[in-house]
Every structure is written in structure tokens, then in C-alpha cells.
Amino acid sequence: MTAIIGAGIDRVDAALKVTGSANYPNDVAYPGLAHAALVRATVAAGRIRAIDTSAAEAAPGVLTVITHLTAPRLDRGPMTLLGPSPPAPIQDDRILHHGQHVAIVVADSPERARHAASLVRVEYETVKALLDLDDPRAEVTANPWNLDTDRGDVAAGFAAADVVVEGTYTTPDNTNNPLGLMSTVAIWHGDSLTVHDSTQWPHNVRTSLAKIFKVPESGIRVLAPYVGGGFGAGLRMWPHVILTVLAAREVGRPVKLVLTRPEMFTSVGHRPHSVMRFKLGATRDGRLMAIDADGVSPVAMEDDDYEPVSLCAATAYGCSHVRTRDRQVRLNIPCPGSMRAPAEGQGNFGLESAVDELAHALGMDPLELRLRNFAQADPESGLPWSSNALRECYRLGAERFGWSRRTPQPGSMREGRWLIGYGMAAVSYPAYQVPCQARASLHRDGSAFVRSAATDIGTGTYTVMTQLAAESLGLDVSRVRFDLGDSDMPYSPQAGGSGLTGALGNAVHLACRRLVGDVLDLVRDDANSPLRGMKLDDVTVDQGRVHRVGIPEQGEAYSDILARHGVEELSADGRSIPPRSEDLGMAVAGAFGAKFVEVRVDPDLGLLRVARVVSAIDGGRVLNEKTATSQIVGGTVGGISQAMFEDTATDRETGRIANATFGDYLIPVNADIPDIDVIFVGEPDPATPIGTKGVGEVGLVGLAAAIANAVHHATGRRIRTLPITIDQLML
């Protein structure tokens, strides 16, 4: 059999996507569909003194206007794997952030709903909003995730250091902004409910809605076969989903809500800004003696978010003396939430900039400094890594990039008017996996159907799971159909944390293995079968057949076995559980990466261009080179975007986001992005049967630091504040 895994086959959903036939939640239509529009708060803190909906209610085509005065009391959603659910909407008159939903309007057309929403008059009693991390009135939580690190003796480590560097690094709010406007279509049939939603986690939507609307989970079906990107924005069930479901119940018709682009900035999370301090001490020969890191980020008034920005300092390098401290400050801001590489995306910028500063202070090549401090074992547990090819990433990435051509002195490389800078950064991405289930069925014609309630937000889940199932069952990929995005399917966790491919892949693998075992059970006492009495370990699968290991003649086709036994369909379930370091005696490793960047700076105009990027990645076993490369390329574009473009600007007086459109919030366009070179190194990771390590986030992390380090190399200017903009570069 030709290798199915690793092969860069085209996406199995490519034909649907290039013809515009993939069905995203806002493509859904129903007879009698009504349309919703939201009314959002125009102050950041205070109370609604009065809300007048009479003009809106009288407008043509309006079916209902729901406010806190008319909404039923709703429970808050459940505690989830990712923390508490966001607060339920329109439950009282309090305003906790600018852009908070205060009403939902439903009409018979989107135009009429939007117009009527503009007629809702709200009077506010305003109080001074908490908008700054250093506002003395704001509530501060120390060690909010209980992840602060104390290893060794940091004071002694610094005392033994010859060189100490310390810097404060800041990152701005970034907004996920998947291109797909997040949308919900809700249809009640009596007590049962169908919801089409732009979610990364259909089961969470189902569980949450069941709790909030007090209906059984079995009566709720959540569909998300295609999602227009997520980058974390679809991980939680946000208040607008609840409002749409509520509105549909109220009007007794299907209701569709499509968030507007400005609403995407305040309704579905964002990467919160951070202020971080990293202090590193090393001996003259570049041995890290101590790391001291702290970070602070904001969180919304009545919500939670996971952003331990300083934590990366504890695990990135072999250093005996480490202290990390995180704090969270409650502000009147829209709920932050995970955005591709939460915490790591911010923290790595600070840490890897500081490492570059240390290299410069030592007069040492930054690559050499990192090699000298490679973590031979997991710095926290002391256990050997399940796999770690970071040094190969350094070596092969540097070779491909031509790092040896770098002359150390800042400003020493030029081409015409352009100053050239080479910069690099390392990434040690944490491993993450949670339990997952899948079901595999074999049909009488020898084809297979495998499914799980996962999502494919562009990551390639449809494709790689088809490949994995084909491999595990010994079928051609054309004989396997993999389906997802339906909460009626077996439980899947969220597409997030770079954890889905591992969790789902192992569940698919187990389901398929059990299915082969069930086929063997069928012929256990079958005198007509050459496989009679065989066990799973005795056989292999290939070309739609099961045969004895090493003896292809001694076997038979699935279709023959099923036909002879009169079985139309045979199904088996697989449940994966996350590998545990303590069971394996190895630290379960996430992905590693080394990023190399060439920038060009025009010293007169302050122009900054990324000319080349090489990303060398240890992602464990690569299931599909084409889609895995796209993950890294896409992450790299996200990293360039974080470094040079993205900055959600909040007005410090009003709490209003001042640039909540694609005209004002900058993300890269085609012309901003160079060709991106991706190299996969490393081996299948032994911690799980399928050997993958997630590659969804490792592509983004490191770019911001590598670009800032390259800018320093080009200009001698150290930029510690993102994004890097022209005004910081005018020389």
C-alpha cells in the first residue's frame, strides 16, 4: 500500500470550498426565517436608566424586541474545560463594558431588523470605567491560575551571573477576527432545538444551551460542518448565541443572527494586552543562571480568561533558578478569550526578545546562546522529553536560512538603501490533549464511515482524519468518509490548544482498531475464513483486506466477510485519553520550533518589510504535509500580523474600540507576506499511538520576537512594544 499518512493529499473538502458550496452557519436558510440585530451599549460602565423600544417595535416587519426588562431570567452556562461560561446576557440593567449587548431585535428581513435596532433609545447612568491596568481602583488577582513557578533560588542564581539583562515588554489587545462573521441560526420544534453556529466546539454549545434553557441535551442538535475560521473566537458559547436562541423561542420562527464586523470586536473574545518583565542572568560563557518573569493582563468584570504570559519562562530553557508571577486585573472591557496561542503568543515575545538582549550583552550569537541552554529534560518535572527535536530545528532552520551569513554588529548588513536584519526566536509549545471519542463503521461494500462531533476550522481535520482512518483500516482514502460538526456524533472536545488532532486522531485510530477486532470476532469460529481464530496482533490491513502479518495470501476482504455473515454494517467506538507524563515516565512534549527572519528597514522612511521567513518545526508525526505546512504558514502570517499590524485601540475615556472595522484594524494583505519556508523535523512522538504533536499554534509563536530581534540587528533599535510601527523606526 502506498503511504497514506504524511502524503500531501489535497483536502477532501477542497471541491466544496473552491466552488462556494461548503455550508457555513450563515449560509443556512429556512422557510419563515426571521433575522436578528443587536443593540449594544455605548458606555463602558454604569446602568441603563431607561430603554425605549416603542419606535423599534412599531417599525415595519418587527417581530420582537427583547431587553433586560422583558427577558426571562437565564442561568449562567456551565463550568467547562476552558473555565466558566461567559455571563448570560440582558439579565439586569448593569453595563460592564462598551459594546455589551443590551437588546436583540427580530424582524422579517435583515434590513428591517438593523433599522429597527437603530431606533432603540437607551439612556445610561454612567460611572467612570476601569480601563487601565494601573488604575488603583481595579481589583487585582495574584497567581490567578495557580501556575506561578518557583524553582531553585533565583537570588542566588542572579548573584552567580556575570551578565544580567532586564526589560519590560508590552503587547496590545488583538482581535481574533476570523473572516467568517460568527453566526447563529436557531430553530425550536417544541422543546427541541436545532442550532447552526460558528463554533469550534459543538458539544459545548449543546451542553450550555441545555443548562441555560432547561431542556434535555438530547433534544438539542448543534451543527457546524464548516466554520469560517476561529482562532479561538469560537471556543466559548458567547452571549449572542443565547440571545438568538431566546429570540427564536419568543417569535416561534427560525431566527438568524450574523454578527457585524464591529460586533466581532466586542462579542467573541480577544487576546488581552499584557505588560511583562523578563530578567535573565547568565555566566560569561552563556549559561543561564536565573530567570525572573512577571506579567499582567486584564480580564472582564464578571468573566475568566487563561493568559499566564510569564509561564513560558519556566519551561523554555534548562535553567535551575526560575521565578514566574502572573496577575490579572478586572476592567470594564469586552471579555478576553483565547486567541491562537493564548499567553504563549505574548509571553514568547518578551522572553525571546530578552534572550536576544542577553546574547547581545554577552557578545554571543543568539543561536549559540539558545543551543547552550537547550533543555535536555523537561525543566519542571525533570523527566526526559517524549521527544524534542529543537536542536535539529535550530540546525536545519539556520542552514536553510543562511544564518551563518549574519554579521553580528547591528546595522552592519545593507543592500542599497535598505538596512538588513537577521533575527531568530525559539518556541517550546506546551502539550495539550483532552479526552475524545469517535465511531467507525464498515459497510458491506467495504467502505468506511467515521465521525466525531469535532470541527474543522480550516486546520484540515476532515482530511487528516480521513487519512488516519484509511491507514488504520487498510482502505484507500477514497473508500473512507469522515464527518464532523454535528453534536449528535460522538463527543469531541474543542478545536483548540493545538490538541484536537492528537485527541481525535487517537480516538479515530482506536475506533478503527476495534473495528478490525470486531471483524476478527465475526470470523473467530468461521471455518470458511483464513482468519479464523486470529487476534488483532496477528493481522494487518491493506487494500480493503485483513491478512496474516507477512502472509498476504492468508486473508480476505472486509466485503467478503461482511457478506458471508449477512452483516450490513459493523461499528466500533474509540475513546482517547490524554497521555500522562507520570504514567509514561516521560514529559509529554508539545511542538518545538525555531524561527528565522530577514527584515529590511528603510531608515529614512521607517518602512519595515519582512523579506524571508524560515520556520523549522518539530511537530511529531506529520499526517499531511500539505495541510500541516498550511498550518505553519498561516500561523506565521498570524505572527507577522501580531508583530507589525494588529492593535485593537480602545479609547481611554469611553472604553469604545476606535478601530473596529477591517478598514481600520490592520491585518496583512497578500502584498505584505513573503514566501514562507517551512521545514518539518523530528520523529513521531511516542506518547500516543498516532505520534502527532499539534501544529496549530507553534507557527505563530516566535515571529514577533524574531522580527523585533531582526529589527534590532538591522537598526540597533530595541523595540519592546508591539506592534512595531513606523514611528518606532524613523531613525
Binding site: G8, D10, R11, D13, A14, A15, L16, K17, V18, T19, G20, S21, A22, N23, Y24, N26, D27, A29, S109, P110, E111, R112, H115, P178, L179, G180, L181, Y226, V227, G228, G229, F231, T260, R261, I457, G458, T459, G460, T627, T629, S630, Q631, V633, G634, T636, V637, G638, T661, F662, G663, I667, P668, V669, N670, A671, D672, I673, P674, D675, I676
Partner: protein, 152 residues
């Protein structure tokens, strides 16, 4: 308001609210959901369709402006199940991830090629810069277009 939209070679007499955009007319009234809404403000290109052969963002075009003009959408590109060369190249080069911007990218690319503006990497980069891709498939989008341009 009454308007007849000529879409992909068929005439569709419609009765529409005067505020209805070409994008919403296609999506909500004709069931042609290939063109996507990414911003509704003319800034992302996900709704790109051809109007008399030229690229327009359908979200900033009122349906009322399209009387007696020919609208071409992604749904018309492949013929009897055979993908358009640009569609095939996008699939081959993995020039998309979530796929949401893809119909707009492909419509822009088709027009670009027809206009003779895909002669170089630099041209493609510039003239494709009205179509945002948040998944970051830009390098593969260029490869796909380059491939078709070189095939002639």
C-alpha cells in the same frame, strides 16, 4: 422595488427592499451563498463577484444598481462538474484553509487573469491585496494563480 438581476446567465425578477445589497440579494433571495459576507463594509473582498466582467464587492453594490447588468458568481465557474482551472489550482496548492474567503479570492483571481494582470509575482501580490485571508494562505494563493497564468 422591482429589479431584474441577470445572474450567471439567468434573469431573476425580484421585489426587494431598496436597501438590499447585491450580496444579500444573491445570498438571501436567490440562494446563491457562494459569495461570503466578511465585513459588509467593502474591506475584505469575501463577497467579490463580477459585474459585467469586472470585480466588485457585492456588499457595497446595491441590487438596484444591477438592473440590465450581468452578474457572475462562483457558482458559475465550474462547468458540468469540471472545475475552472483556478479552482483546480487552489485545491492543488492548498490555497485556503477555512475556505470562507475562497470564493472571493477565486473570483478576483479569475478577473486578474482575464485582465492580464497576473504577469508576475509582484503583480499578483498587489492586485490580490483587496482580498483578505485571515488563515494566511497568501503564499499558496499566489502559487495557484501563477500556475494558471503560466499554463496560459
Amino acid at each position: 422595488m422591482e429589479v431584474t438581476l441577470n445572474v450567471n446567465g439567468s434573469a431573476h425578477p425580484l421585489r426587494l427592499d431598496a436597501r438590499v445589497t447585491l450580496l444579500d440579494a444573491l445570498r438571501d433571495h436567490l440562494g446563491l451563498t457562494g459569495a461570503k459576507k466578511g465585513c459588509d463594509q467593502g474591506a475584505c473582498g469575501a463577497c467579490t463577484v463580477l459585474l459585467d466582467g469586472r470585480r466588485v464587492v457585492a456588499c457595497l453594490t446595491l441590487a438596484a444598481q444591477c438592473e440590465e447588468r450581468e452578474v457572475t458568481t462562483i457558482e458559475a465557474l465550474s462547468e458540468e462538474g469540471t472545475p475552472h482551472p483556478v479552482q483546480a489550482a487552489f485545491a492543488r496548492h492548498d490555497a485556503f484553509q477555512c475556505g470562507y474567503c475562497t470564493p472571493g479570492q477565486i473570483m478576483s483571481a479569475v478577473a486578474l487573469l482575464a485582465e492580464g494582470r497576473a504577469g508576475s509575482e509582484e503583480e499578483i501580490r498587489e492586485f490580490m491585496s483587496g482580498n483578505l485571508c485571515r488563515c494566511g494562505a497568501y503564499p499558496n494563493i499566489r502559487k495557484a494563480i501563477r500556475d494558471v497564468a503560466e499554463e496560459g
